[in-house]
């Protein structure tokens, strides 16, 4: 008796699989994380209730979720767009830091009313993020050096630059803490009146729409998609790989920079050495979940925002370390990449009986 595992490539992906995958992966991740919860003596039902239901039904929870979603959307787009061209912007976190740094400097040193100051900070952050990815982008576009490694290396350099600045040039003169001075009121992102959500969400949604239109309705979007599908054929078509790679990566860097500014001016209020939100890395599963479109990226970002907010809730209320959220993130990625396999191959399991030794005329077929 032999277990026969037959793996055959699919010619196309069944509809239920294509749209159901994000849902299945999330459910699977939640199921496995439940084990970790049980291990610490916490009821998964209770924990997930707090994490999801409470977060989404209380005003406090919703506001926090939206606030958390803003930088996640920006960061998610920062990874999503290059991914369309088959490029991995693993360095979003570093570009985020540079954006925050630029935003801090502008916010502290330029005195303008909020109406002018905030946009200036965002533009500065975008430019800083784009500048930070410029070198890895050029190395990839011109020399073909893998951007995964280079953007990653730049994250660690960015982290130390941030740490250096808050202990040195950007340090608040008042006390000896590794942090900058508090941003003036004009530099802090306000909330939308009545609803209470941070203004940044408007920008985030706008950017999602712009990205969607760019990818699906413009010439540039066509080129990006084509290069991602076959870069050699794209060159035959006259598309400039160098140009597209640079544009797509710099745009990603800019958006990650914007994420940095929005988090800095909307939540943090000042630049601290401890500022290491990890949004640049969370952006990776967000971009994978939202692979099919900018709006899906937004949904994925919202989902992660929920579990982040829910995660700190269960830490406060149930004593569960918020690291459970990191575990869940990792599991989501794990199940996502596993599901990629099932989307490409179909598995048939069968039991083979051993051939009867006495039977005449062995059937042919096993060569």
């Amino acid at each position: 008796m032999k277990l026969n595992v037959d793996v055959t490539p699919r010619t196309d992906v069944p509809r239920w699989m294509r749209y159901g995958t994000p849902v299945f992966t999330i459910l699977a991740a939640l199921a496995v994380s439940a084990v970790a919860l049980v291990a610490l003596g916490v009821s998964p039902v209770e924990a997930y209730y707090v994490m999801f239901v409470q977060t989404l039904t209380t005003n406090f929870g919703l506001t926090n979720t939206v606030a958390k979603a803003v930088p996640l959307i920006f960061a998610g787009l920062a990874v999503y767009l290059p991914l369309k061209a088959q490029l991995w912007n693993i360095g979003a976190e570093g570009q985020l830091f540079l954006g925050a740094i630029a935003g801090t400097w502008i916010g502290l040193n330029v005195s303008l009313p909020m109406v002018a100051l905030l946009p200036l900070m965002f533009v500065g952050g975008a430019l800083a993020g784009a500048a930070w990815i410029a070198v890895p982008a050029w190395l990839r576009a011109k020399l073909g050096i893998n951007e995964i490694i280079t953007t990653l290396l730049f994250v660690f350099v960015a982290t130390e630059i941030k740490n250096y600045l808050v202990r040195g040039p950007l340090q608040a003169p008042t006390a000896n803490f590794p942090q900058s001075a508090q941003l003036p009121a004009a530099a802090q992102l306000p909330d939308i009146p009545v609803v209470g959500y941070p203004v940044g969400i408007v920008l985030a949604v706008v950017l999602v729409a712009v990205t969607y239109l760019l990818v699906n309705y413009t010439r540039l979007g066509y080129e990006i998609t084509f290069i991602g599908a076959n870069d050699t054929a794209a060159e035959h078509a006259g598309m400039s790989k160098f140009k597209i790679y640079m544009i797509v990566l710099m745009a990603g860097g800019a958006m990650a920079g914007v994420a940095g500014v929005s988090e800095l001016s909307g939540v943090q209020g000042r630049l601290r050495a401890s500022f290491e939100p990890g949004y640049g890395f969370t952006a990776i599963p967000i971009a994978l979940l939202g692979r099919n479109g900018a709006f899906q990226v937004m949904l994925a970002a919202l989902f992660f925002a929920v579990i982040f907010v829910g995660g700190s809730s269960i830490q406060t209320l149930l004593g569960v370390p918020s690291a459970i959220v990191d575990i869940m993130q990792a599991l989501i990625i794990l199940f996502l990449i596993t599901s990629e396999f099932f989307k490409q191959y179909s598995i048939d399991l069968g039991i083979e009986r051993a051939p009867d030794p006495g039977a005449p005329g062995q059937p042919e077929g096993e060569v």
Partner: protein, 330 residues
């Protein structure tokens, strides 16, 4: 001055062991064509598991053994995803780092703040007492823990493994051109699995070295990015074991300089030319935070230089690195 030099040497060697262990493991994995970005996570898992087992059983050898196994198991997952399922190697690796970090922070909460007596510093029998007397380098190199010595010994061992054994030859071939190796009868999957699992085992050992020998404590994220430095180190070393050792010492030196930077206080006297320009530059360059970027910057430089000067095939990366392989790909 001699005291400073000896102190630097000691700190350098101490800092290098983790990098040697993790670096050698990553080298083996990448030589077979599989990038493992999960080193940081595997190191943390090794550190925590080793620590817990040592606390509970009192035996640091057992702790080290369990740590190695734990690292190997995590790597097994990475191997399954990348080799059998043909998943994106970078994403799988980052996922494992996230998982390792998350799991160890989550479960390690109760274990922070405790301390154990880990591997003691020992000298080599017979010759040890004389070797320790060597000025500056003596106590740095020859008064170390078992894991420090093991790391040094592993450098030639890994070299012999790769270049002087049949398995090593097959492993290298699989990382250069798996289709050709397959045609020659090499079991590509087995070789890649072996390489990745070995890499994880080394990473687990590196993590356990931190919690059992380097410091006798556990704290969340105690690897502090050393796993990433190990990945950079392999690139810096152009995938050669000997250069891993040199690179580990270099990066270890950067680390050591950070610790000693206050004591270094290098600056030009007020009368020297260009004092106004040179001194601030020196201060910047010797700033400990800035110094911690040097391993990464130096790696980037080496990476660019070797790609630009592409003629020397010997320094090129394993040709099939990051590419997944399946037969009958038609």
């Amino acid at each position: 001055m001699a005291g400073l030099a000896a102190g630097l040497a000691n700190a350098t060697v101490n800092a290098s062991t983790v990098l040697i262990l993790a670096g050698l493991g990553e080298l083996i994995s990448e030589r077979a064509g599989v990038l493992n970005l999960g080193v940081e996570g595997m190191m943390l898992v090794g550190a925590l598991s080793g620590f817990v087992v040592t606390w509970v059983t009192g035996s640091y050898w057992l702790g080290m053994g369990i740590a190695i196994t734990a690292g190997g198991l995590m790597a097994l997952l990475h191997a399954f995803l990348c080799i059998s399922l043909n998943s994106d190697q970078a994403v799988s690796g980052i996922m494992l780092t996230l998982l390792g970090t998350g799991l160890t922070t989550y479960f390690g909460n109760d274990w922070s703040g405790r301390s154990i007596d880990g591997f003691p510093e020992v000298t080599i029998p017979v010759v040890g007492e004389y070797l320790v007397e060597i000025p500056i380098l003596g106590s740095a190199l020859f008064q170390s823990t078992a894991t420090d010595y093991a790391a040094l010994l592993l450098v030639p061992v890994v070299w012999l493994f790769l270049y002087r054994t049949n398995i090593g030859l097959e492993l290298i071939s699989v990382g250069e051109d798996p289709e050709t190796a397959d045609t020659m009868g090499v079991d590509v999957f087995k070789m890649r699995y072996l390489a990745v699992i070995l890499g994880g085992m080394f990473a687990g050992a590196a993590g356990a070295h931190l919690s059992l020998a380097f410091n006798g404590i556990w704290s969340a994220t105690m690897t502090a990015g050393r796993g990433w430095i190990a990945v950079a180190l392999v690139i810096f070393a152009r995938w050669r074991p000997g250069r891993i050792l040199l690179g580990a010492y270099l990066f270890g030196l950067f680390n050591a300089l950070q610790l000693y930077s206050q004591g270094l206080n290098l600056s030009l006297g007020p009368g020297a030319p260009l004092v106004g320009v040179v001194n601030p530059v020196l201060e910047f360059v010797l700033n400990p935070t800035i110094m911690s970027t040097y391993p990464y910057l130096v790696t980037l430089l080496v990476l660019v230089i070797t790609v630009v000067r592409a003629e020397n095939r010997e320094l090129a990366q394993p040709s099939a690195l990051v590419q997944s392989y399946s037969r009958e790909a038609d």
